[in-house]
Symmetry: C2
Subunit: 128 residues, 2 copies
Amino acid sequence: MSSEVRSQIEAANREFMAAFARQDAAAVAKLYASGGQLLPPNSDMVSGVDGIREFWKGTMAQGITAVTLETREVEPAGDGAVEVGRYRIMAGDALADQGKYLVVWKKEGGAWRLHRDMWNTSQPATGS
Amino acid sequence: MSSEVRSQIEAANREFMAAFARQDAAAVAKLYASGGQLLPPNSDMVSGVDGIREFWKGTMAQGITAVTLETREVEPAGDGAVEVGRYRIMAGDALADQGKYLVVWKKEGGAWRLHRDMWNTSQPATGS
């Protein structure tokens, strides 16, 4: 059961990566639940599918070409699930950032959707 | 029910703030579940109570004197709960950082404990 949930979430992540790689912010945003929320570094919270689409559109416009998501753990939590993973963000051939994420997933219309999505860098602080 | 959970989690946060204010890293670490994990910015994941205690001890040694946690939302998730909130980190009278956090709580031995704890700054990137 838990491994089935993990497979489904990994499949949703592959959709995320594919949509991002073709720079389709609207398709990325559709992977979020209707009440979905981003908690991005250096930004206040971003709520709702429109805000989420504009956020990813802005990221793409800054030259980010691909995101890699690697699931480390999926724990069922009631009707939802909690995922911890690692990400890599590419700007063409260059690694723009790498870090980790914590996503609360929710099932909506039979599909797993990102409900709360937070991440931060694992790279040292630039100021230190 | 949900508001009761929220009250209990807010009470646990008050314990966190009080332990931090008296610079008691061991007491902060005890608020985490046995398999607890920190996902701090500019760091890899930190697992286990010993690692968590050393992390907060290191933060205190860097001159951080207080942390303020303000709950924005608590959603029950199976036996656990998911909290989104805002934090402020003080170094004496100076605001060292402010941002948001996503915590997955778990009940352990009748008490709410932090199971997954991630945060990031809401301040603009220093490089931009």
